[in-house]
């Protein structure tokens, strides 16, 4: 097999549990690493894995296990305290989706701006513009300032721009849980199409139905480490065993819908 598209080596990141004021003030002057203060914790440490082109990976773990943190590290928006992350292709991050959108500018201007910020050239944006507008279903509001958009419309537009970036790696953080049901189905279909085209997918979700649907491989974060790196079925099974869950009864879709609502607080910043 060719060179992995993502390589993660001995990865670890540390957060401060309490308020940080005093520490960062000192950090400005000293080198910062004066012992290990008690109020720090590591969501995970010593994580190693390789991802190859075209793989689809689902990330599981309880709240606070570091799933979103891992995604941010892969997006390059967090820097590890230990180890390294190497990403060898462009990334389309479906994280903090509405970042870069300007409230005062119209949807039209915002599409150009945000697509540009994510690296698309003018010509590429011209080519993609109609498709983005149609996918987001916001044509009547093209010249409406973004601040007047409903939150659902904002996310729809943002999703449409980022998913159109056509980067080889797609990072998805629970965004599938937003928008109305029809739009969600459209997003699922789009992601399936992209997977069919050989995109690499990284999906953080609590919905087992979504994980089964999109992912072949699973990463399970628990207890401050990468507990399991295996097929998605094995990872889901392990997760259920560890958390005393029983999945023999009940409908996956009902459960998924419930998960989507129940975990809205865990779903990021949009």
């Amino acid at each position: 097999m060719s060179e992995p598209i993502i390589s993660v080596r001995d990865l670890g990141i540390r957060f401060n549990r309490g308020r940080k004021r005093k520490r960062s003030a000192r950090e400005l002057i000293t080198k910062g690493r004066t012992g290990t203060p008690v109020d720090q914790f590591w969501p995970f440490r010593h994580v190693n894995f390789d991802i190859h082109r075209g793989e689809s990976i689902g990330v599981m773990g309880r709240n606070g296990a570091g799933k979103s943190t891992l995604l941010s590290l892969l997006a390059g928006t967090l820097i590890p305290d230990e180890g390294s992350v190497t990403v060898r292709a462009g990334v389309a991050p479906l994280i903090a989706l509405t970042g870069g959108f300007e409230g005062q500018l119209t949807a039209r201007d915002n599409i150009r701006l945000v697509a540009g910020l994510h690296g698309m050239t003018k010509d590429e944006i011209d080519d993609a513009f109609e498709e983005i507008v149609d996918f987001a279903e916001i044509r009547p509001f093209l010249d409406t300032p973004f601040k007047h958009f409903s939150s659902g419309m904002r996310v729809r537009l943002a999703f449409s721009v980022v998913v159109r970036l056509r980067e080889p790696i797609l990072l998805v953080d629970e965004v599938l849980a937003v928008g109305d049901r029809r739009f969600r189905r459209k997003c699922f279909q789009r992601i399936e199409t992209l997977l069919g085209d050989g995109q690499t997918l990284f999906l953080v979700s609590h919905s087992e139905a979504n994980l089964r649907r999109f992912c072949e491989r699973g990463l399970y974060l628990a207890g401050g480490e990468l507990r399991l790196d295996a097929s998605i079925e094995d990872v889901i099974k392990q997760y259920e065993v560890d958390n005393g869950l029983d999945n023999t009864s009940g409908d996956d879709d009902v459960e998924a819908a419930h998960d989507d609502l129940g975990d809205a607080d865990d779903s990021g910043d949009f």
């Binding site: 080596r9 990865l11 957060f15 401060n16 940080k20 004021r21 960062s24 003030a25 950090e27 400005l28 080198k31 910062g32 941010s72 590290l73 997006a75 390059g76 928006t77 967090l78 820097i79 590890p80 305290d81 230990e82 180890g83 390294s84 992350v85 190497t86 990403v87 060898r88 292709a89 462009g90 990334v91 991050p93 994280i95 903090a96 989706l97 509405t98 970042g99 870069g100 701006l113 540009g116 910020l117 994510h118 690296g119 698309m120 050239t121 590429e124 056509r166 980067e167 080889p168 910043d269």
Partner: protein, 282 residues
């Protein structure tokens, strides 16, 4: 480094292997995005209203007018060189670039937290953006200076050749300070008020209202030698020699040249040190 489907370069490594050269290369790769946001900033600034251009030059001109009034109409001017209004404006315009950049840097990352959290655009870009937007405003304000010089029939001297040097030195100084202030403002929310006070103090301690020769002639000794280490002083000298060749003071210039390089490297180092903690807090 591989390329993405669209032919852009893409991909990155974070963690123990990143060097300053890697970082510089990534910033260079994102120059198109930098152009995009600086362009948008200027569009917002100038096209926002018909008076857009006037607003950008209004503050330095108004301040110059006030100082001119106080120092020539009420007090007897003993500082600077005539025509005093030209002297004032030639110092105010670059000063507004400097102070605008430093106070703007306080918000360079904080104000773009959503973007910083969602894209891997090198974080230095957000600092560069502030300094370049303000720098472009400075450049666009130069015709006003030319008009005032024309009014007084004061032709530029050969010293105008130092202006690009002064711009380059300002850029290094501001980048260095910006790379310290921008991540620090995320970690220390109260930095804003400290920096604002510091900028006001610095304004009066720097030869902007007055000339470096005033310091040398009126005080000399210790005061002059300390003030010669203020990098803003040396830069102001170079900005002003265009119309005031008597302003040239090489000691100030050399001191400033050494210092801006040192400050720039301290900025690079500080930014690298604070970046990881900044990203966790933003």
């Amino acid at each position: 480094m591989t390329t993405s489907i669209m032919g852009r370069s893409a991909g990155f490594t974070t963690g123990d292997t990143q060097t300053t050269a890697d970082r510089a290369r990534r910033v260079w790769e994102y120059r198109r995005i930098l152009r995009l946001i600086v362009g948008r900033d200027l569009k917002v600034r100038y096209a926002g209203s018909a008076l857009g251009y006037l607003w950008t030059v209004l503050e330095p001109l108004a301040m110059s007018a006030v100082y001119w009034f106080v120092f020539t109409q009420i007090l007897h001017r003993q500082i600077g060189f005539p025509p005093f209004i030209l002297f004032l404006v030639s110092g105010q315009l670059p000063w507004f670039w400097m102070s605008g950049s430093i106070t703007g840097a306080l918000n360079a990352l904080r104000g773009e937290s959503q973007m910083v959290r969602s894209t891997s655009v090198p974080r230095e870009i957000w600092v560069l953006r502030v300094i370049m937007s303000r720098g472009m405003e400075y450049i666009f304000s130069l015709p006003v200076l030319a008009l005032i010089a024309l009014y007084y029939l004061k032709p530029p001297t050969i010293g105008i050749l130092y202006t690009p040097v002064a711009i380059a030195m300002s850029f290094l100084l501001l980048m260095g300070m910006g790379m310290i202030v921008a991540p620090a403002a995320v970690l220390l929310p109260d930095l804003r008020s400290i920096v604002k006070v510091a900028m006001r103090v610095l304004y009066f301690l720097s030869p902007i209202l007055y000339s470096v020769t005033d310091v040398v002639q009126k005080r000399g000794g210790m005061v002059a030698s300390i003030s010669s280490w203020n990098p803003i002083a040396g830069i102001m000298v170079l900005f002003r020699v265009t119309f005031f060749p008597q302003e040239m003071a090489w000691t100030y210039v050399w001191h400033a040249a050494i210092e801006v390089v040192i400050i720039f490297f301290i900025g690079l180092f500080t930014f690298k040190r604070l970046e990881a903690s900044m990203l966790k807090e933003i």
